[in-house]
Amino acid sequence: MNRNLRIALLVAAIAAGTGTLAAQSLDSGLRGPTPLNDEGPASPMTPTRNTAEREVRNYPEQPPVIPHSIDGYQIDLQTNKCLSCHARARTGESQAPMVSITHFMDRDGQFLASVSPRRFFCTECHVPQSVTNPPVSNDFVDIDTMLSRAAPGGRR
């Protein structure tokens, strides 16, 4: 009897628990009110930033972001559309920044005559930017700001 009562209480507790969980609405800033097991509506696509003006890097090693649209650019075994402007020999005509010399290095640090295969696929690191308000703000502080904070009024 005692055992049956315990089981009944356990069942009741589980039922009550799941009931409250199901009743809870999860309203997160990113997901919206969509329940976790549902897929919400896709947010509209935003246009690509296409000013062709160079953007400041957030930190020295950041791969520079692409300040123009790259829709339909083919980068595969056959060819690399990016290099038809950014290759060393093409920059005179295109006035585009040349691929960094570090991209000519193989993994042993030896410089090759052209872009190293491991650096060939540009969009692995370099990406175009959308014109949009980020849903999550970023509190990243770059090193210059950090240093000037450490010494207020001091030169960086």
Binding site: A52, H68, S69, G72, Q74, Q78, T79, K81, L83
Partner: protein, 211 residues
């Protein structure tokens, strides 16, 4: 008549020659049965039917439906086109195969159509009937098209994209600069920079301006 002449049947070429001579005789002799008006009017009607029929048939071969009725086109180049701006875009205006690949001017169109008989030959004998064969031949085919566009100053591009109507203030700064420096002074033509905008590119090693 001797036995020899009865049994010795004239050869095919002899008979063909005799027929041709007889036909020439009929064609050059004035008609004794039909009135001149009948002949002129029936000739006129036949002209309309044949010329109209010819042009209708020509236009039938100038449609995307016709081009993509062969799997070589449907599975390779047409499939690739679908992802590009010439197939799907914000305004819904789109280019079909002949808009870019067949000259719109009549004589040039006939010339291109005659060249295209090689493509029918290629289809019948399976020059590019697998993806691998197509990939192997792709550079050669692309070089033909680039040479054609280069020779006619990208005429098929300019049928829609006229340099005179181009408002570079509405373009991205990058495009505006490039068009001002190379297009408007005639230094380059569309295809020089805009290769691979509607189909995938072949192996571009050795093509000027590419890596």
């Amino acid at each position: 008549m001797s036995v020899e002449t009865q049994t010795a049947r004239p050869s095919f070429w002899q008979r063909a020659w005799r027929f041709a001579v007889e036909l020439w005789g009929v064609l050059t002799r004035p008609s004794t049965v039909f009135a001149l008006g009948t002949l002129v009017l029936s000739g006129f009607a036949a002209g309309i039917i044949f010329w109209g029929g010819f042009n209708t048939a020509l236009e039938l071969t100038n449609t995307e439906k016709f081009c993509t009725s062969c799997h070589e086109m449907r599975d390779n180049v047409f499939a690739e086109l679908k992802a590009t701006i010439h197939f799907t875009n914000r305004s819904g205006v789109r280019a079909t195969c002949p808009d870019c690949h067949v000259p719109h001017d009549w004589t040039d169109k006939i010339a291109r159509k005659m060249q295209a008989s090689k493509e029918v030959w290629g289809h019948l004998f399976g020059f590019i009937d697998t993806r691998e064969k197509f990939a192997d031949k792709r550079l050669e085919l692309a070089l033909h098209e680039w040479a054609r566009f280069k020779a006619n100053d990208s005429l098929e591009c300019r049928n829609c994209h006229s340099a005179e109507s181009m408002d570079i203030t509405k373009q991205s700064p990058r495009a505006a600069v490039a068009h001002e420096r190379f297009l408007f002074n005639g230094e380059k033509t569309c295809i020089d920079c805009h290769k691979g905008i509607a189909h995938h590119l072949p192996d571009m090693r050795g093509v000027p301006g590419w890596q």
